[in-house]
Symmetry: C2
Subunit: 149 residues, 2 copies
Amino acid sequence: MTTKKMAPPRSIGRQLNYTAGACNTVCQTILERYDLSLPQWVILSAVWRESGLTIGDLAAYSGNNAPATSRIVDRMIDKGLLLRTPDAHDRRTVRIEATKAAKDLSHLANFYEDINAVLLDGFSKAEADMLFVLLERAEQNARNWSGRD
Amino acid sequence: MTTKKMAPPRSIGRQLNYTAGACNTVCQTILERYDLSLPQWVILSAVWRESGLTIGDLAAYSGNNAPATSRIVDRMIDKGLLLRTPDAHDRRTVRIEATKAAKDLSHLANFYEDINAVLLDGFSKAEADMLFVLLERAEQNARNWSGRD
């Protein structure tokens, strides 16, 4: 058997996962230079922009659930990138703040633009716009299906 | 803070991961009815089509590395879906075969077409073709970057 013979048929699920996987490999290669993972960068991209966020805010922003977001934040606290501080008015609310070490990495705030430049190299503006629109429509179709299932 | 205020900027990396994630949720919802995970279905989609595949063949087909593929196959052997058999001519080569339980699920072989139908609902043929072409170009751009980095 050759893998060529076994070439899988045209599947949007496979193509989406292959393209996202190749994109994430580029992201990880760049972020490793700063000892960051991609989920950690996503959290930083929120706390660089706004202080006093809660775990719930960060979960909504990153698209992860709250327990997964908590685990990522815990690791980042261990690494000295984030601090947990109780809210001044409501001690039950914990707010997440960037440390100086995290602020020193804020030149990575526009990192996603570097990734856009790699992935969309050679794309016309119309092609790039079309890719976003079609991906958003496919995503919405999937979410609509999951919502009614 | 509202999540609306924190709407992240236009990032192809984020959009790819959101669309792939929404797609994988649809896949998992359907496959759970058959007690299958998506990586397990990918392996089945190979062994339904051809017998006598090796772990190396399955790794190449699925896009995973050999150790990850071995772990998935081991779980599927435990679940009674696959059998490991030594090659008749070369005892060092192990070949993976579908059990009767796996063959009984072969009506799922075209499952990816159901996913295409959900994700590409309302797409014209030209739009669907365009999405595949643009995703392949973005994937190739990412792989070219990783290859030269």
